[in-house]
Amino acid sequence: MLILFVGLLFGLAFKGSAQNPPPTEYQIKAAFLYNFAKFVEWPAQAFPGPTSPMVVGVLGENAFGDNLERAIRDKTVNNHPFQFKQFHSVTEATNCQILFISASEKSRLPRILAGLRGTSVLTVSETDQFIKAGGMINFVIEDNRVHFQINDQAAKQAGLKISSKLLSLATHNH
């Protein structure tokens, strides 16, 4: 029953992933984003209330299409229901918990990161130099697989605790 239920959940998350052609890159990346919420601990003040939504936002061009929205729809973590938001400016994005910074914002990256300083937003991107620039998690493609890098220092500065288990999966630890 549990297996069936679990299967159903993932069936919704990755539509036709078992039988259909392998998932696209962004489908995987959307799932990764969703799963990060499980291994990251936000400080209590990061949420207005105990059941406030876990807001996942995209800043810049939305490369996911609707994949991300689908991946998080109706999901909940620690009583926080997920919520998708499209941001156009960094100021809009300060109240979200996870922010995917699109590659289109590569040029404005330092400004964006600076704008987020003092907030407990987990920043995720897929651009080179993101970690160096002070981003927290950056997707990379290695061996035709999606991997990620983690900047634990930056996360700690933002009051986020990233689970060691997640850390052990990251390709580079800083």
Binding site: I3, L9, F10, K75, V77, S163, L169
Partner: protein, 844 residues
Amino acid sequence: MPRFQDISIKRKLTAIIMIASTVALLLVSAGFVTYELVTFRQTMTRDLSTLAEIIGNQSTAALTYEDQKVAKEILAALSAKKHIVAAALYDKDGRLLASYSRGNNPAISFPSRPERQALRFESDALVLFHPVWVSPDFAGTLYLKSDLQEIDERFVRYAAMILLFMLASWVVTLFLSSRLQRIISRPIFHLADTARAVSGTKNYAVRADKHGGDELGQLVDSFNEMLGQIQRRDSELQQAHDKLEIRVGERTRDLRAEIAERQRAESALKQQFVRMSLLNQITQAISDRQDTDSILHVVLRQVEDHLGLDLGLVALFDAKAQTLNVAALRVKNSLLAQKFDLHEGSVLSLAETGLQRCEQGQTVYFADTLKETAAFVEKLAVTNWRSAVAVPLMVEGKLFGVLVAARLAADGFNSDDCEFLRMLCENVALAAHQARLHTDLENAYNELRRTQATVLQQERLKALGQMASGIAHDVNNALSPVIGFADILMKGGYGLSPDGKKYLKYIRMAGEDIAHIVARLREFYRAREENEPLQHLDLNALIEQVADMTRPRWRDIPQSKGITIEVRTELAPDVPKLAGIESEIREAFTNLVLNAVDAMPRGGRITIRTRVVRHERGGRHPRHVVVDVSDTGTGMDEETRKRCLEPFFSTKGKRGTGLGLAMVYGVMERHEGNIDIQSEPGKGTTIRLVFPVRTKLCEDKEENEKHAVIEPLQILCIDDEPLLRELIKEILERDGHEVEVSDSGQSGLDEFRIARERGRPFDVVITDLGMPYLDGRQVAKALKQESPATPVIMLTGWGAFMKEDGNTPEQVDGVISKPPRSRELREALSRFHPIRGNSRTHRK
């Protein structure tokens, strides 16, 4: 190997303790080990679950992100756990993500798909599937497989430990039990030794020692007590035994005596039985016999055989003469038999036998015949029979006979013998008496049968005679007018020519011949008519006469054919003269001689014998004269002999009339004599005529009749046959009587009455007997009622019978046979009317 029951108590006790302690120890150990193993298995599963929890938790990220490398690293850490044989991680879709096997064993296979949460023991392993959750999602499954080596090791350790403890406890227990069992076994051994000693030496004075107050102590006490009792009993037993010996000795002597007594009784009984069966045998033997003689002989033979008698004798008692008649005699020794002067048929007077007491039914025993004085007993003594028993045969309390048994030895009979003879005699007497009754009965029966045969014969002859007379009656009726009218014609006055007279004479002769034949037919059963003349006859002379007269038939004719027949007469000289009819008797003898001649076609001898029979010996008056006519001819068989007297019975075919012997029979009947025929085929025939001696003679009436005076009478004649009527009228009218005729009984009566009314009654009425409507008897009865004095004469063909049978009706004064002859009619009239005739004469 000895059975457990047979080994000594000492070992038994030790073995019992050892077995009990070992079993207890084993049970405790088994419980302990089982508990330990169960507990350990629980521990194992708990440990494995904990391990799975840890590993699962570690691998959540790796599973979430399906990082094979990290997963493999996590699993590789299990190499520290040496019991983990294999481990694997499956992603949320059930695909194998990473695996681990101890020492990289390639032989190990992993389930292709994970199971849902499970924990189970397999044959050699403990298997666990642990689902991993990353809240809120299912991340994957951890698979762990642990070997059971740890359990096995523990088990071996436990076994070794138990064995060690067991050995140690055995040693200790053996030592302790071998010490402790003595507490129980020693008193028992002591008791056993004591008992063995007692039974071996039979010394009941020995006592067992007591070691304590427990059950064994009580046992010893009881044993000692028992020994004491046995000791007492033993001495008592010995005393009883001694007494018993003495008593057995006495009893044995008694028994021997008793056995001897019983044997004597048994042999006596046996003898008794033999006697009884002998008695039975004899009784059966005699019960089959019907005559006294053979019964007596059978009895004597049986008694001699079985009792060993030297003399057996049965004499029958004649009460009237007071004599004993020897009926059966049996002597064993033939020499003695010659010497003994009695034989069957000897007669002894009761007095000279010395057996008078037998008459009262007493048995008489002569223990020694030499000491007796009676003549009969002396005879026994002379013949060397020294002892004798006489047993009476009694029937209905009366002496019937005496059975005498004798033996050579003096005092040779015991009471058994006497008793047996007595019992036997009761049966013999009964049987002999029975036999005598039987013989009497048989004689009586035979006599009766003979009588019956004679009566039957007579009846038959009588019937035949009646028949013959009936025929004769009719013939006579028819013949009467023929002869009567011929008579009348012959007496003349009718102007007959000489030739006519001659022919008339022939007619009359022929008629007479017919009458004669009819008479002969009737003769054999015709009573002698009263008016027949009886003469004094000399039978001897008559026989000589017949022999002479028949000579041509028995000598001349046969001689011509070469056959010789001899006639011999043996005549008694003193034959008295008999009253009889000479012609008849002569004819009878002639018939017998001629029959004898006919019976001897090849010749032979005829003997005619006369003798006189006087009833009492020396009696003066002869009663009967017997004439035997014997021949040596062919004889007759029984059937012929029985029927030869019947009329018309003949064996001679056409030559015989069948009337010869019938006539003889008739003659003998008329002479009140008897005829007896003895004959056998091939042996000849003897015909015996027995004449009673009669002396009375009939008076010759003929002379008187000639002088009878008959006056003319008024006579009424009633007859339904006109010819007879006319004949009688003619005859009577010739004698001067006045005759009226009437053709029936009724018209006769009418005539009679008319005549009386006129004052001229009839003097005599002659009436026929057989008439239609009113017959002769009724007519006579009516007449006598009206005029009792008028004589009535009956005219009938049955006349002879009416006289013979005494059957003459009361109302009839005389009977005349048909055909009526003038002489008879005259006689009858003169018989009824001489008085009147005479009186008239006197009156004149």
